[in-house]
């Protein structure tokens, strides 16, 4: 099973002043995190498009391009690209370029975006949320199928035998559909034969098991080839040597980000007991010791059959040193434990579920 990391480009606090650090430095730190993730054997790094002072990772493919030149094996993707407010032609060109530079390691994850700053930034209306996404996903998939594109829609000018280059050596790019759990999105991914990425960021993680089943059944109904059917999971996580210390440490940063979000969206930040419930058992927050987190990943695999799980560690202005240390532990401790527990069983199970 693949283990990875994702980030929105969390800005660190200045150690001496306690003020929010610079967005430029945070961008350089993010590149360093990707390089380390590659060195410690992690499989995937995703950058989630955000446009805020606290999370400035707005130009994912530029950072990933730099990472392509300074890493060897790690897959590089978006988590997610806010496709609704971008031009699918441009998105494709950028990721195909990344794919060329990284020798076939680029992936796109297309989402509607749970953060919505990009809508006013690029002149789109949130009232078109669903229609924008449907149309742009349709065009992105078409471009992935063929170099010459003829298309027309509502939100951008028509294309007539337009050439979209460069093309990936592998023929096409992996395009994942990201969803926070709306059942219709699982149906859409299944019917279109797209791999699906579940953002499981709260509540009980195994409540996504029926959605994964729905996805697989919709794909089977549409006659999608089994090798195209893939499930991945994105969730908050933090690993430290000591379980209790890791949970305490992550709580302060998770709480900070929930407080920021709550202010914008009008909800009260969840109290500690709520966090403790979700940071244990079947909960969606994967904070703890390497052994505990590996065990919880393996358990979730039993209900979802996912082939990749990747974690957002850097939230709420986490110091860079602790961030890097946690990435290291995910690679050197968690991944080997998960591999040992699942081994070939995981592959057999994934094959079974696909059949």
């Amino acid at each position: 099973m693949e283990i990875g990391i994702y980030s929105f480009g969390d800005v660190q606090k200045d150690a001496t002043t306690g003020e929010l650090g610079s967005t430029a430095e945070a961008t350089r730190n993010l590149l360093e995190a990707i390089q380390l993730a590659d060195q410690v054997g992690l499989d995937y790094f995703g950058i989630g498009e955000h446009h805020t002072r606290e999370m400035p990772a707005s130009a994912a493919t530029v950072i990933l391009g730099a990472a392509a030149a300074s890493t060897k094996n790690i897959k590089l993707g978006s988590a997610v690209t806010v496709l609704s407010t971008d031009d699918p032609v441009r998105v494709y060109q950028q990721f195909a370029t990344l794919d060329a530079l990284s020798n076939g390691r680029a992936e796109i994850t297309a989402g509607r975006g749970s953060s919505t700053e990009s809508f006013p930034l690029f002149g789109h209306s949130l009232n078109d949320y669903d229609a924008l996404y449907a149309e742009k996903l349709d065009l992105l998939m078409l471009i992935n199928e063929s170099e010459s594109v003829t298309w027309n829609g509502k939100f951008r000018p028509a294309l007539n035998k337009a050439q979209v280059v460069p093309r990936p050596d592998g023929g096409s790019l992996p395009i994942w559909l990201a969803t926070g759990g709306n059942p219709q999105s699982s149906v859409r991914a299944g019917l279109n034969g797209l791999p699906i990425s579940y953002a499981i960021i709260g509540g009980q993680a195994n409540r996504f098991a029926p959605l994964a089943e729905l996805y697989r059944r919709a794909a089977a109904q549409a006659g999608v080839a089994p090798e195209k059917i893939k499930v991945s999971v994105a969730s908050p996580g933090f690993v430290g040597e000591d379980a209790a210390k890791a949970k305490d440490f992550f709580w302060t940063h998770w709480h900070a980000v929930m407080e920021q979000l709550g202010k914008i969206r009008g909800f009260a930040p969840p109290p500690r007991f709520h966090y403790d419930k979700e940071a244990s058992g079947d909960g969606a927050l994967f904070a703890g010791s390497p052994e505990e987190i590996a065990e919880r990943i393996v358990k979730l695999h039993g209900s979802l059959g996912h082939m990749r799980q990747f974690f957002q560690i850097d939230v709420g202005q986490m110091p860079h040193r602790e961030y890097l240390r946690s990435i290291e532990l995910f690679g050197t401790k968690v991944k080997p434990l998960v591999d040992a527990a699942l081994g070939d069983k995981a592959k057999a199970k994934e094959a079974n579920r696909d059949a």
């Binding site: 809508f119 009232n127 759990g181 709306n182 509540g203 729905l214 059944r217 109904q221 969206r265």
Partner: protein, 218 residues
Amino acid sequence: MTPEIRSIGILGAGRVGTALARLALAAGYEVRVATARPPHEIALLLEVMAPGAEPLSVEALIATSDIVILALPLSKYRELRPELFAGKIVIDAMNYWPPTDGTIEDFERAASSSEIVQDHLAGARLVRAFNHMGYHEIEQEARPEGDPARRALAVAGNDADARAAVSGFIDRLGYDPIDAGPLMASRNFGVGTTIFGAAFDRTEMAQLLASAHQREAA
């Protein structure tokens, strides 16, 4: 007079709609679900996400259900045809959330989105409920009567019998219903209030609603 509630019709098959469908099925109700798609297009979705719930057309669902729950994006409310809802007990589980759903002119001036929905569905006996609890909590937090961890849900609407019917439904699902009074009171548990997204038992909820009411009267 409160009619006996046997069948629950849910408009919307998203996260909230399917969670409420599962809860209502577990509590022994007949459950139907409708979306803008033809019923056969949501058959697989329901078979997996809410086994036992029947896919119906919007018209058939409203006509044959004792309670209709609105669990669709609020931006779609104008597509609901008012004449279908005349006399119906309707639960509004929706919220107005500009940061994620965009600005909708109709709701910018309103203190409570439910009052705008009631204006549109003029003949419906509208009750606002379920809106202040997150969709993944709705299912996980249901508890039997008398359980010390049982949480409270606020209920507001202009028709007392409809409030009573919805309260009975909420109680059977696993929550303590707290009658907040007329629909206007639903602004006290909307987005941005103390109650929204937080957990309270029946005593705390009753106090919070009463003190909000007093502040308004003052």
